[in-house]
Structures are given as C-alpha cells and as structure tokens.
C-alpha cells in the first residue's frame, strides 16, 4: 500500500513538474503562440484549403478533423519534449539513479499533456463555432469521451517518440514529421474511404484516425454505442504505443547502464 502511495506521489509530482518546466511554459507568450495561435491558424489554413475544394458546406468536416488534430500538439511535441529534455537538461541521470517506480515516472510525463490536449480541442471547437461548426444536434457527452480518448491515444504515440528521443540527436525532426504525417493520414482533412489503399493502410495504424471518425459521427447526434468499437480500438492503439515506448525506455536504461552512455549524445 505504502509503495503504491509513493508511486502515485511520484506520478503526480513528476507529471506536474515536467509539465510546467516544458517549453518555458511559465511564460504565457510561449504557451499562447505554440498552443493556441499556431494550432488555430493551422486549423484555419486547412479549413480554407478544404473549402476551396469542396465548398463552404463542408466546413464542419474540416473544423472537426483539425480541432481533434490539436491534441497532437500536446501529445507529440509536449510529451516527447518532457521525456527528451530530461536528457538535454542533465536530469536523466538522477531520474535513472533514483529508486522511483519507472512506470509512474514514464506515464506521468503524459498526464498533464492529455489534459492540455483536451483544452486545445475545446478551444478549437469554440473557434470553430464562429466559423461554421454546428453542435446543436451533437452528442456532447459522447464527443467529450471521444476527445479524451483521442488525447490519451495520441499521447501514447508521444511517449513512444519520447523514448526514441533519448537516442536521437534531432528529435524535432521526428516530432515535426509525425505531426504532419498525422495531418495527412489521420483523415483530419481527407475522406479516407475515398483515398488509395496505401493511405488507408497507414491510417489504420495511427492514433487519431478513429477518434476523428467517431467525432464526425457523434456531431450528427449518433449514440455513443455506435462508435464504441472505434473508440475501444483507438484506446488500444494508444496503449500499445505507450507500452512500446515504456519497453524502449527500459531497454534504453538497461543499455545506458551497461555501456555507461546515459549522457552520451
């Protein structure tokens, strides 16, 4: 019991401290620029690009897709950098040297980013409300659950990328590439059923794809049961990425201890 409470304390304090340290987020300008202006501007760009192709009537399709895509900002950049900066800032050695529960440390890095991702999507939907999003017939509780699951599953991918970042020299290259791959393959801007098979195959293995699909169904008032299978598989995908990331983290720790390369770049 005592061990569990200690792990829980490490989870919460580690989660909070790593979050506030991220990106100098104690400075509001950085948060506003990276977490509000950039994703909203990205949403508007793809909305207008989409509307130039398919007309104003399809605005809802692009707003929902790109609003959900906002979770990727916290999940990809936020989570990855909370993990990778342990190494860059020289704190990884102390973390690895401590007897703290590794799972609590690792999963804690995603916790506040999941909540932050939720906030980002809500802001996206609020802005969307001014430019054509209609939520009058939406299943709002179902939509809230979908957003939560999308944030969790995308943070799972972020944890995996974070683990990779411990061995990569330029993690921003990996982060940026995955962020844009999600933009292309998650269906945020494309009707996946009309896309070539190779695009559909890739999208099946990515988080966000099923959340975006679910959100579009729930916006039209469908019951949660109709998308439960989609959401369950979305959650499972996120969990798989997170576990893969944790296994990689432990492998990295093992190799770094064995070879004395914990701080090597």
């Amino acid at each position: 019991m005592r061990r569990l409470i200690t792990s829980l304390r490490i989870f919460v304090s580690g989660a909070w401290l790593s979050y506030i340290a991220l990106f100098h987020w104690t400075h509001p300008a950085s948060y506003i620029a990276s977490k509000i202006v950039m994703p909203i501007a990205s949403m508007l760009f793809f909305l207008y690009l989409g509307m130039s192709a398919t007309g104003h009537d399809t605005a809802q399709f692009y707003i929902v897709g790109n609003a959900l895509q906002i979770v990727a900002v916290s999940a990809i950049y936020g989570v990855t950098m909370t993990v990778s900066r342990e190494r860059n800032m020289g704190t990884l050695i102390y973390l690895i040297g401590s007897p703290a529960n590794r799972l609590a440390i690792f999963m804690g890095r995603a916790f506040f980013n999941i909540l932050d991702g939720l906030l980002g999507v809500v802001i996206g939907f609020i802005v969307g409300g001014f430019i054509g999003l209609d939520l009058t017939s939406a299943n709002l509780p179902g939509l809230a659950i979908t957003i939560l699951i999308s944030s969790i599953s995308t943070c799972g991918l972020g944890l995996m990328l974070g683990s990779i970042s411990l061995t990569a020299l330029n993690i921003m290259f990996v982060n940026n590439t995955f962020f844009f791959l999600l933009l292309v393959f998650s269906g945020a801007n494309l009707q996946l059923d009309k896309m070539p098979a190779w695009i559909q195959s890739i999208s099946k293995w990515l988080p966000l794809t099923r959340s975006i699909q679910s959100a579009r169904i729930l916006i039209n008032g469908a019951p949660l049961a109709e998308v439960s299978l989609l959401l369950a598989s979305e959650f499972a995908i996120g969990l798989t990425y997170a576990l893969a990331g944790f296994i990689f983290f432990r492998w990295f720790e093992f190799q770094a201890r064995k070879r004395g390369t914990l701080e090597a770049f």
Partner: protein, 260 residues
C-alpha cells in the same frame, strides 16, 4: 563595396554549408512542403480547373516562408547563443551585412522546397507539369527571393530586440500561408484581411508565381505584382536598417549583446 560583397559571400558560403545538414532545416524546406503538397493534391485534385502546378508552387511557397521565418528569426539569436555576436558587432562590418549573407543562404536552401515538391506531382500522381511562361516565371522567382530576403532582414532584428519575442515565432507560420494566398485565393477570407495581404510581399510573390506558372492572369497583373514586390522590398529594407540601428543601440546601451 567590394569588401562588403566579400563578407556577404563568405557568410553565405559558410552558413549554407552549416545549415544544409541541419535536420530541422531539412524538415522545413523538404519534408513539410512535400507533405503539404501531397495533402493539397488529394484535397484539390477533384476540383474544377485543378492545376497540379498551382499546388506545387503553393506548397513550395509554404516551404519558402517557413524557411524565411524560422531561419531569419534565429539569425541574430544564434550568433548570441554561440557567443559570436559581440565579436561581429565589434568588427568594422555592419551586423546587417552579415545577416544579409545568412538571409541569402536561407533563401537559397529554402528554394529547394520548389525542387523537391515537383517529383510528388510528376512521379507519384503522374501529372504533367508545365510552366505557362517560363521566362516570366524565372523573373518572378528572382523577385520572390528579393521579397523574402528583405522580409527576412526585418524578421531578424524584430525577434532579437527582446529575448521574449522569439517565443512568438511559431505563431507566424500558418497565418502567412493563409493571408499570402499560397494555396487558395485570399478572396475566400473575410474582407478585413485583404489589406494585410496587400502589405505583405509574399502575397504579391505568390500572385506573380501562380500567374506565370499557371498562365491564368494577364501580363498587366504580373507587372503590377512585380512592381509591388520591388516597392515593398525597398520599404522592408529601410525598416530593416532602422531596426538594426535600434537593436545595436539598445544592446550597447543596456549591455545585453551577450545576454542569453
């Protein structure tokens, strides 16, 4: 004058070698425009009057702008971080001359976005890509370089005047894609955004490049775009000189040249 040109060339050559292997730069000028082109082609290909060259030029412009924004915003800061800023300012060469060399290197590497977007449409989708007016397109491209280089010279001191300014850099990437009319006409946007587009040289560069590559505008319109690119670039260069003076004066007064 010759010694200034020698400095510009040396900075250009050294900086080009340095950034050509940078992962962030490779992403910004190659991977990102490629993915934008891929996405835009799939989004727009079924529209009436679709022209692949429009998407290629538009996607390349996103790479050019992202390159201009990110590289130039860190141009002076990077010297500060590496401890070279004090030495540069202390030398007889003006800081703006050094930054000009870097801006030229940035724009040269950013131009590769135009080359790398091309195979996506040509090989992956099998579109036949033809430039309607090749000679006018080349002039437009040269003027685009002038437009982005002069804007880059404004960006560099702005993001260095105050250490907090650099935090805002991410906020400027997509808004320019929108008001610059890179991949869709600005007529779709609310009317109040039109004056913003008009005072930005990348908007006129996009108009000139699209008009000469797609051939869907009159020669008169192309000339107007060229004229406005030159006019706005001269204004930007004037503003840039003033900003560099303010930056140096402020840094010397407050002794913040080496401040990280």
């Amino acid at each position: 004058m010759l010694s200034k040109l020698r400095v510009v060339w040396t900075v250009f050559y050294l900086y080009l070698k340095q950034i050509a292997i940078d992962g962030f730069i490779i992403f910004t000028v190659i991977i990102q425009p490629l993915l934008v082109a891929l996405l835009a082609i799939y989004m727009l290909r079924d529209t009436e009057g679709f022209q692949a060259i429009y998407v290629i030029v538009g996607s390349a412009l996103t790479g050019l702008w992202s390159g201009t924004l990110f590289f130039n915003s860190f141009n002076v800061q990077a010297e500060r971080w590496s401890g070279c800023l004090e030495n540069i300012v202390g030398s007889p060469t003006h800081l703006q001359t050094v930054v000009l060399g870097k801006a030229l290197a940035n724009i040269t590497i950013s131009l590769s976005s135009m080359i790398f977007s091309y195979p996506i449409a040509a090989f992956l989708f099998g579109f036949k890509l033809t430039i309607a007016h090749p000679s006018l397109f080349i002039v437009s491209l040269i003027l685009t370089i002038l437009a982005l280089m002069s804007l880059g010279l404004v960006i560099a001191p702005i993001f260095s005047l105050n250490p907090g300014n650099i935090l805002w850099v991410n906020a400027f990437e997509f808004p320019m894609y929108i008001v610059g009319g890179f991949l869709f006409p600005v007529l779709m946007l609310p009317v109040w955004t039109t004056p913003i587009s008009y005072i930005l040289s990348p908007y006129w560069a996009a108009r000139a490049l699209h008009a000469t590559s797609s051939g869907n505008a009159s020669l008169n319109e192309v000339f107007i775009s060229w004229g406005l690119i030159v006019f706005l670039s001269l204004i930007y260069l004037y503003i840039s000189s003033w900003l560099f003076r303010v930056l140096l004066q402020k840094s010397k007064e407050k002794a913040t040249l080496g401040l990280q």
